[in-house]
C-alpha cells in the first residue's frame, strides 16, 4: 500500500511512547467544575441556569443562540454556585457556570425515545448534534452542526475522518481508535448520511499501526477506506490532509466544502455517534496528560470544566522543575499561567514540561528553511519582516492570512526567531485593518 502525504512539513520527535500503551481511564468527577459558556469558535452560549439551581449530569446549561455557537451541558450533577466569569485556557475571561458536585452523577439523557440512528433525516442528525453541543474536538472547536450543513451549491462527496494525531506527545485519539473503533466508524456513516457524501476515508499516520490494523478489521465489508499516511507534522491539518488523501486543494480563504469534503476528528466522530444513537451530550472528552514534568503520564476521560489542578493531581502531580504548562500539543498548544483553568472542549491534552533555557535569537540569515517546510507554501521570514516593519499590505499580499500557525517554520528556524508570534500578531492586525477598510 502506498503511504500518502503532503509536501513540506517537519518531523519533530514524537514522545508518544510515554502514554501510547495506557488505556483511556475515566477520571472521577471533581468536587467543583467551572464550565465556560464559550468553549467553541463563535459567540458564547447563553446561560439557562442561575445560582442555586440543581442540575443533573448532561443537563443543558447554556444555549447556543447564534449559528456559530454551541450548547453547553453540565458535566456533573449538583448545585450551581455561580454564573459569572472565569478564566479560560485561551487566556481570557469568559462567562462560566460553577457547579458543586453532589456526588450522585444523576444522569438525564437528552431524550427518552430512541430511534434507529440510520433512519434519521440529515436535518434530524444535525439537530441532535447541535443539541449535544458537539464541536470539533481536534482543537479548533468549530461547531460541528455547521460543518454538517454544507451550502446548497456545494455538494459533498467525501467525508474524511482525521485519525492523524500529528501533534507529538498526544495519544488520546490513538486510544480512542483502539478502544472505540466501531463507534468511530458508525459515526462516520452518520456524517455521510447528514451530508449526502458517498465516500468515507479515514486517515491514520503510520506511527499508529495498531489503530490502522484494528480499524481495517472493523471496516472490512464496509465502504470505509482506511488510508495510511506518512508520520509527518502537520499531517492532520485539514487542508494538508485533504491534499494528501484526495489530491484536492482547498482554495485560499476557502473551506473544505469548496472541494466537496468534510473533515472530522476521530473524537468528534465518536461524540456524534454517541449523541445520535444514545442522546449523550458532550460532557467529557479524551485527553493525554503527559510531558517530562508529569509524574504519571496518562490518557484520561475527563469531565468538561474540571480544573487542570485536579487533573494533574490525579496524574501524580508535577515533577520538580516542571515550569511550563501547555494546553494541547507541543507544536500548537497554548501556554498556561494558572493551574485553575478548566478543561474545555478544545483541550486535547495537558502537558507539563521543563522548559528549555531561553535561546539566543539571531537575525534572519535567509536560510529559507521556513520556506522549505511551510505546509501552506508561505514565506514565513518575509511575513515576519512585513509585520516587524509595519508593511501590513505586503503581509496580506504574501498570504499572511493563509497561515495556519502550525509552527513548522519556527520549529526549524536556526536563528530561533519567534516567527509564529510575529505572524499571529500580524494576522490580527491585518484582519482589523481589513475590517476598518470595509467599514
Amino acid at each position: 500500500m502506498r503511504i500518502k502525504t503532503f509536501p513540506h512539513g517537519v518531523h519533530p520527535p514524537e514522545f508518544k511512547e510515554l502514554t501510547a500503551e495506557k488505556s483511556l481511564e475515566p477520571m472521577p468527577p471533581p468536587e467543583k467544575v467551572f464550565i465556560p459558556l464559550l468553549q467553541h469558535f463563535g459567540s458564547p452560549a447563553e446561560s439557562l441556569v442561575s445560582k442555586g439551581d440543581e442540575v443533573s449530569l448532561g443537563q443543558k446549561i447554556g444555549e447556543g443562540k447564534t449559528l456559530f455557537s454551541a450548547a453547553v451541558h453540565s458535566s456533573i450533577s449538583g448545585k450551581v454556585l455561580a454564573v459569572d466569569h472565569y478564566i479560560h485556557p485561551g487566556g481570557n475571561l469568559v462567562p462560566a457556570v460553577t457547579i458543586a458536585n453532589d456526588g450522585e452523577d444523576r444522569y438525564v439523557p437528552l431524550e427518552k425515545e430512541r430511534k434507529d440512528p440510520f433512519s434519521l433525516s440529515p436535518e434530524e442528525i444535525r439537530q441532535k448534534v447541535k443539541e449535544a453541543g458537539i464541536v470539533g474536538l481536534g482543537g479548533a472547536a468549530f461547531p460541528t452542526s455547521v460543518k454538517l450543513t454544507p451550502p446548497k451549491d456545494k455538494p459533498i462527496d467525501t467525508i474524511i475522518i482525521n485519525g492523524c494525531e500529528c501533534e507529538p506527545v498526544l495519544t488520546a485519539d490513538y486510544r480512542l481508535m483502539l478502544e472505540f473503533p466501531e463507534d468511530i466508524l458508525k459515526g462516520g456513516e452518520i456524517i455521510c448520511k447528514a451530508t449526502g457524501a458517498t465516500r468515507l476515508i479515514m486517515g491514520i499516520e503510520d506511527n499508529k499501526p495498531g489503530a490502522f490494523e484494528i480499524l481495517k478489521k472493523y471496516a472490512q465489508n464496509t465502504r470505509t477506506e482506511i488510508a495510511l499516511l506518512k508520520t509527518k507534522y502537520p499531517q492532520g491539518a485539514e487542508k494538508n490532509l485533504i491534499s494528501a488523501l484526495l489530491q484536492r486543494e482547498v482554495p485560499r480563504g476557502g473551506l473544505p466544502f469548496d472541494v466537496g469534503v468534510v473533515v472530522q476528528n476521530v473524537g468528534t466522530t465518536k461524540a456524534i455517534w454517541e449523541a445520535v444513537s444514545q442522546g449523550v451530550p458532550l460532557f467529557q472528552r479524551a485527553i493525554t496528560v503527559s510531558g517530562s514534568g508529569i509524574k504519571e503520564p496518562k490518557n484520561l476521560l475527563v469531565r468538561l470544566g474540571t480544573p487542570f489542578k485536579d487533573i494533574l493531581e490525579f496524574c501524580g502531580g508535577l515533577k520538580d522543575g516542571a515550569n511550563m504548562l501547555i494546553m494541547g500539543g507541543p507544536m500548537m498548544g497554548i501556554s498556561q499561567w494558572s493551574l485553575d483553568v478548566p478543561l474545555v472542549k478544545a483541550t486535547s491534552g495537558i502537558l507539563a514540561l521543563d522548559s528549555p533555557p531561553p535561546v539566543l535569537e539571531y537575525t534572519c540569515i535567509s536560510c529559507s528553511r521556513c520556506v522549505g517546510h511551510c505546509p501552506m507554501g508561505l514565506v514565513p521570514t518575509q511575513l515576519m519582516k512585513c509585520v516587524k516593519y509595519e508593511n501590513l499590505t505586503l503581509a496580506e499580499a504574501w498570504g499572511i492570512l493563509d497561515c495556519v500557525e502550525c509552527g513548522s517554520c519556527q520549529y526549524v528556524c536556526p536563528a530561533k526567531i519567534s516567527l509564529v508570534h510575529w505572524i499571529r500578531w500580524g494576522k490580527n492586525r491585518v484582519t482589523s485593518m481589513k475590517r476598518k477598510k470595509s467599514a
Binding site: E249, M324, M332, S338, L353, T363, S368, G399, A415
Partner: protein, 326 residues
C-alpha cells in the same frame, strides 16, 4: 511544582525547536572548508597558512571593532560568520599576495561588505567577494601573480593558472592545457581555494548531507556553465576547452558550493535559487569565453547577488490553494 499562579513560563507556540542554530550552521561551513584549507597548505606550504590565519584574524578584529562602534552585543562575533568570511577571502587570494594586501581585503570584506549593511543577515553582496573585488581593482598585479605549487618546478616568471593559460597562451593549440586529473587533485597554480577540486567537493558533500546549503545552487551553476561551454566545445574543440575543464578549473567549485550558496546573499525561494544559479553559470561562461578576464566566478556571483532582492520579490512560492476558486 510551581506554587499556584504566575510561576509558569509563558511563550508563544510552538514549544519544540530543532537543535540546529545559526552558529552551528556557520561552524559546519568552517568544518567543510578544512579539507580545502589543508590542501592549500599542502600545495603552497607556509604562505597559505599565513594567509589563512591573517585573513581570519583581520576579519574577527574588524567585526569586533564594528560591533563596538555600533554598540552591538559581542556574541555575534562568535557565531562563526566573520571567520568564514576570513577563510573564504583567503581561499580566493593568490598564495603570493603580500600580507598587508590580504589584511586590507579582510577589513574591506567585513567593514564595507557586511557591517555597513547592518551585519550578519543584512548584507546584499557576499562579504568575502567584496573584499576580493576591492583587492583585484586596487592591486591588479599582485592579484594576478601566481606561484606554482610546492611540488612542481617550473619557470615562475611565465607560470599561469590553467584558465589564464587557456585564454592568453593559446593552450589548446600549443598542447599545454592542464589535464583534468591535475585539476581534480589540485596540483595546479591559482588561488588557495582554486586548486584541489577533490578537497572542496569532500567538504561540500558534508554540507549537502547536513542540508546547510541549497543543492539547487551548485547544480544550477554547474549545469548552465557546462551547457554553455559545451555548445562551443562541440562546435570547435580546437579552440574551446571542454565543459569538464571549465567546471574543475579556477574558482568554479569553491564558488558554486561555498560562495554562491551563502544563505544571506542567495534567494529564499526554490525558483529564485534556480534562476540565480543558472544565471551565475551563464555569466561565468560569458566572461571566460568572451570577456577580458580568464576567470569569471567572482564577478558573476557579485552580479547575481545584486538581483537577489528582486528575485525574492518576484518568485514568491505558490500558496496552497492559490488560483483555485471558492
Amino acid at each position: 511544582m510551581p506554587d499556584k499562579n504566575n510561576s509558569f513560563v509563558i511563550q508563544s507556540s510552538p514549544h519544540l525547536r530543532e537543535k540546529d542554530s545559526v552558529p552551528k550552521i556557520m561552524y559546519s561551513v568552517i568544518i567543510s572548508l578544512l579539507p580545502a584549507a589543508f590542501a592549500s597548505i599542502y600545495f603552497f606550504r607556509v604562505q597559505a597558512a599565513i594567509l589563512l590565519l591573517s585573513c581570519i584574524a583581520a576579519s574577527l578584529i574588524t567585526e569586533a571593532l564594528f560591533l563596538w562602534l555600533r554598540k552591538r552585543p559581542f556574541h555575534s562575533l562568535l557565531d562563526g560568520s566573520a571567520a568564514i568570511t576570513g577563510i573564504l577571502l583567503a581561499m580566493t587570494l593568490p598564495p603570493s599576495l603580500p600580507l598587508e594586501f590580504a589584511i586590507i581585503g579582510a577589513v574591506v570584506a567585513i567593514g564595507i561588505g557586511k557591517q555597513v549593511f547592518g551585519g550578519l543577515g543584512h548584507n546584499i553582496f557576499n562579504p568575502a567577494l567584496v573584499g576580493r573585488a576591492f583587492l583585484q581593482t586596487a592591486f591588479p598585479v599582485a592579484m594576478t601573480t601566481w606561484i606554482p605549487p610546492a611540488m612542481i618546478k617550473v619557470n615562475t616568471a611565465t607560470f599561469a593558472t590553467p584558465l589564464a593559460n587557456l585564454k592568453f597562451q593559446d593552450a589548446i593549440s600549443q598542447g599545454t592545457l592542464t589535464s583534468l586529473k591535475e585539476l581534480f587533485w589540485g596540483n595546479v597554480g591559482g588561488c588557495l581555494g582554486e586548486t584541489s577540486a577533490f578537497a572542496l567537493i569532500l567538504g561540500a558533500l558534508y554540507l549537502l548531507l547536513r542540508r546547510s546549503i541549497d543543492w539547487r545552487i551548485p547544480v544550477g551553476i554547474i549545469v548552465s556553465l557546462s551547457l554553455f561551454t559545451g555548445i562551443f566545445w562541440l562546435a570547435n574543440p580546437g579552440k574551446y576547452a571542454s565543459p569538464l575543464f571549465h567546471v574543475l578549473a579556477g574558482g568554479l567549485i569553491i564558488g558554486a558550493f561555498f560562495i554562491a550558496t551563502d544563505m544571506v546573499t542567495s534567494p529564499i525561494s526554490p525558483l529564485g535559487a534556480w534562476i540565480y544559479a543558472l544565471s551565475i553559470g551563464l555569466v561565468i561562461g560569458l566572461i571566460r569565453l568572451f570577456g577580458g578576464y580568464a576567470e569569471g566566478v567572482m564577478y558573476s556571483i557579485l552580479f547575481m547577488n545584486a538581483f537577489v532582492p528582486l528575485l525574492n520579490k518576484y518568485t514568491r512560492p505558490r500558496i496552497l490553494g492559490e488560483g483555485r476558486k471558492t
